[in-house]
């Protein structure tokens, strides 16, 4: 490819900007990430860097002309709780919830917690283009449009290859839970390896 840099050069840190509040803009999607996302962990189960996950989800939202707000959750690593919590804070009622290993869910505030709009349970099958589509779909739901659900893939042999690693990552993420600590709004600070992050 002729791209000037490869994706792996990029870095991201999530800078806390304050407590996570309820949004008022109807044109926003909340992206809610788990305790260890882009912190303790830096990439998904199949080594997609979190910076790329975040860039693509945000790009998918931005391309639809919708704004995004990122929230980090500390007190749970349960995807439904993260995504639903995010949706309740979202001005549009739509949120994308993400775990460090890549498992992702689009949620809506009026749905029961254990339901969802779209769920991507097979973290080993999620790559950058899928994350872009997830962001795009979330933004389209926020606009009241009817996006075609992102095609889900399936692989019977994912179990022998990834099941145990997924469990391990899940346990590690649980370790990062800080019970009782409220969610915070964060700002992504993107940078390049070897260069100072642009503030």
């Amino acid at each position: 490819m002729t791209a000037a840099t490869t994706a792996s050069d990029r870095t991201v840190t999530l800078r806390e900007v304050g407590p996570a509040g309820r949004g008022t803009r109807p044109d926003e999607v909340v992206v809610a990430v788990s305790p260890a996302f882009a912190g303790h962990f830096t990439k998904t189960i199949v080594d997609v860097p979190h910076v790329e996950v975040l860039r693509q989800v945000l790009a998918g939202i931005e391309e639809q002309g919708v704004t995004a707000r990122i929230i980090r959750v500390f007190d749970t690593a349960d995807l439904a709780a993260i995504a639903h919590g995010g949706a309740k804070l979202s001005g549009s009622g739509i949120a994308v919830g993400m775990l460090s290993r890549g498992t992702t869910m689009i949620h809506q505030k009026d749905l029961p917690r254990l339901s969802n709009l779209e769920l991507f349970p097979q973290s080993p099958l999620l790559d950058a283009p899928v994350f872009r589509m997830i962001g795009s779909n979330a933004a389209q739901y926020a606009k009241g449009e009817s996006p075609q659900p992102v095609p889900t893939r399936n692989d019977q042999m994912a179990r022998p290859r990834w099941q145990a690693k997924a469990a391990l990552l899940h346990l590690k993420e649980f370790e990062c839970i800080q019970a009782g600590r409220p969610a915070v709004e964060v700002e992504p600070v993107f940078g390049r390896v070897g260069s100072r992050p642009l503030a």
Binding site: M1, A7, Q108, S115, Q148
Partner: protein
């Protein structure tokens, strides 16, 4: 109804059985000697085999047994089974696409991406983003970005080029990145994205990129004189590019590249002739002339004796197949052969439609709505195998079975049991494959016609015009009203009313256009809005049922004059539709006709007309006999 008096000469248990194209209906009744009728039960089942053939026996027996079970009677008590004189009707459907849009030399990009970037018009020479560094300052450039470029890198590269003095006026992107890139540019430019075949964009050519503000459409590239201005065209050249302008009308974004002989053409696809025999004439019409022309010729060949299409075309194939199926159906061992002349196409309905099709030579999967003609045809023979069915039913049930009357007459008879109607009465049976009409005059004369095209054609039109590719979904769109799920707790009906629900709706219908089935809302997989889907649905119904209602009624109306009709009763499965009866009634109202959905026996709705008509006719016969005896 008069109660049966068992003391007098015995009342008779009779069953009227109507074998229709799709359903078989039974009407069980006790007929007293003087002709009074006590209705006991009705039943309805799927018709087995093609109507009018021995395969019908199974369904007929099933309907009879079903009615008997409901009434708690046994087969042994039945005196007579009355069957309708039904002639086989076989219908077929075919569609021909008759136009094709072709782009040559990659002249134009008109796929209308949902999220283009920037706004305004940029005219310059196409250059690949990789070559921007070598570009001399001054000359306006339209930057072409292939697959694999990240949006941040594209923006950075364009900003750097502009800073170096390169006059970048617009960009064409492979990925869905237009908003992302424009948001990051220091100098805003129009950007068109999602051009999947971006590598085919000719480089080094003069090109114009236009993006309109959200909610608006382009003004320059969709205007022939706008193109002439941008590309400094002479009148001859302007005439040549006018198809380009037309193709881009209504878009929010577009790209036009000026190449030596580039062109957009709207080609007609020859799909051969339709040859119609009738009224002692042989008339020919090109299928690609469209429905209006075809129907005009069909009108001149009435009554139609046969029709044939070009071998190798969909229409030709369909017409041949319909005929072959009929020949197979009538070919029964031990029965006299049916002359080929009797197996002929007796009606044709052509409907103009359109099908979304990918444009040949397009760079971004452009889709054009191509014109198409849908054709329904019908074969009918006067040779019935009903006597065979009657024999088999008699054998299977252990009761006498006879042909009790002709279908159209019986339908009228049954329809007369609808409260509030009187002679002259016409019935319209809105079926799946054909639309049938029958008229009973004040004097008791009955005439009947069958015309091609009914419910199945409607489904096909909906399916292709909405590009659903799924007959079942199209059926759903046809049968049920639409709604839009606006939140988990409310949906907006197609009439604009809002309905709130207590239980949250399922996530799979969230924010979707849905059909409101009895089992709850079901999503319609389309990007079109509710209004568009509704329009397509109603148009399809109008073009088939309203057109056919008028066509069929004119054929039975004395002198073809609709004003001579007084009561029109709608029967058949499609009479249960939630809007077709109203649409037909509206169309007939100007002719002073009372039109509505039948309510046979005051209880059965538009069902069971023929079956109960058979019982009525039988009762009348018995009464007549009784009168003769008593004299």
């Amino acid at each position: 109804m008069t109660p049966v008096d068992p003391g007098r000469s015995p009342a008779r248990l009779v069953v009227g059985v109507d074998i229709g194209n799709s359903t078989t209906e039974a009407c069980l009744a006790v007929v007293a000697p003087e002709g009074s009728i006590t209705h006991l039960a009705t039943d309805l089942t799927r018709t087995t085999g093609v109507k009018g053939t021995p395969d019908n026996t199974e369904g007929a027996l099933k309907a009879i047994r079903g009615a008997l079970a409901r009434a708690g009677r046994s087969a042994g008590q039945v005196e007579t089974v009355l069957l309708n004189e039904a002639t086989p009707v076989i219908s077929g459907l075919a569609m021909e696409t008759i136009t094709e849009t072709i782009i040559t030399e990659s002249t134009m990009i008109g796929h209308n991406p949902t999220t283009p970037g920037g706004e305004g018009l940029g005219v310059g020479t196409t250059r690949s983003i990789g070559e921007l560094g070598e570009q001399q300052p001054g000359e306006p450039v339209v930057c072409v970005v292939p697959h694999g470029w990240d949006f941040d890198d594209v923006a950075a590269t364009l900003n750097a080029a502009v800073a170096a003095g390169v006059d970048v006026v617009a960009a064409i992107l492979a990925g869905d990145d237009a908003v992302l890139v424009t948001n990051r540019l220091e100098r805003p430019i129009p950007v068109v994205d999602e051009v999947s075949a971006v590598e085919k964009v000719p480089l080094g050519m003069l090109a114009a990129v236009e993006v309109a503000a959200p909610g608006r459409t382009i003004r320059t590239l969709s205007n022939s004189y706008g193109l002439a201005t941008v590309f400094e065209l002479d009148p001859v050249q302007t005439r040549q590019v006018s198809p380009v302008a037309r193709a881009l009308t209504g878009n929010r974004s577009a790209v036009v590249v000026r190449t030596p002989t580039g062109d957009v053409t709207d080609r007609r696809i020859p799909v051969g002739e339709l040859v119609l025999h009738g009224a002692g004439k042989t008339l020919r019409v090109d299928v690609d002339a469209g429905a209006e022309a075809i129907m005009e010729v069909v009108g001149r060949a009435q009554p139609l004796d046969d029709a044939r299409g070009e071998p190798g075309t969909h229409v030709g194939g369909m017409l041949a197949q319909v005929r072959d199926t009929m020949a197979d159906v009538m070919d029964i061992a031990g029965q006299p052969d049916v002359p080929v002349s009797e197996i002929a196409i007796r009606d044709v309905l052509a409907v103009d439609t359109f099908v979304p099709a990918e444009v040949r030579g397009g760079l971004a999967g452009e889709v054009a709505l191509e014109n198409a003609v849908a054709l329904a045809a019908m074969v009918r023979t006067s040779r019935s195998r009903m006597q065979l069915v009657a024999d088999l039913v008699s054998e299977g049930l252990g009761a006498a079975a006879e042909i009790g009357g002709v279908e159209g007459e019986m339908a009228v008879g049954g329809a007369l049991t609808t409260p509030g109607v009187d002679r002259p009465i016409a019935v319209l049976d809105l079926g799946g494959g054909s639309t049938d009409a029958a008229l009973l005059t004040r004097e008791g004369e009955c005439t009947a016609v069958h015309v091609a095209g009914a419910g199945e054609l409607v489904t096909k039109l909906i399916d292709s015009e909405l590009a659903l590719g799924d007959r079942d979904v199209a059926e759903g769109v046809k049968w049920f009203p639409l709604g839009k799920v606006e939140s988990f707790f409310h949906l907006r009906h197609e009439d604009g009313t809002v309905e709130f629900v207590d239980q949250p709706l399922s996530p799979h219908v969230f924010a979707r256009v849905v059909v409101l089935t009895p089992d709850g809302p079901a999503p319609v997989p389309t990007r079109h809005g509710l209004d568009h889907v509704r329009r397509v649905r109603r148009e399809a119904k109008r073009r088939v049922f309203v057109v056919n209602a008028l066509r069929a009624l004119r054929q039975v109306a004395p002198g073809g004059n609709l004003r001579a009709l007084e009561f029109v009763v709608l029967l058949g499965g499609s009479a249960l539709d939630f809007e077709i009866p109203d649409m037909i009634a509206d169309a007939l109202a100007p002719h002073g006709i009372v039109c509505g959905t039948g309510n046979v026996l005051g209880t059965e709705g538009p069902r069971n007309a023929v079956a109960s008509g058979l019982v009525r006719a039988h009762a009348a016969l018995l009464a007549e006999e009784a009168r003769c005896r008593s004299r």
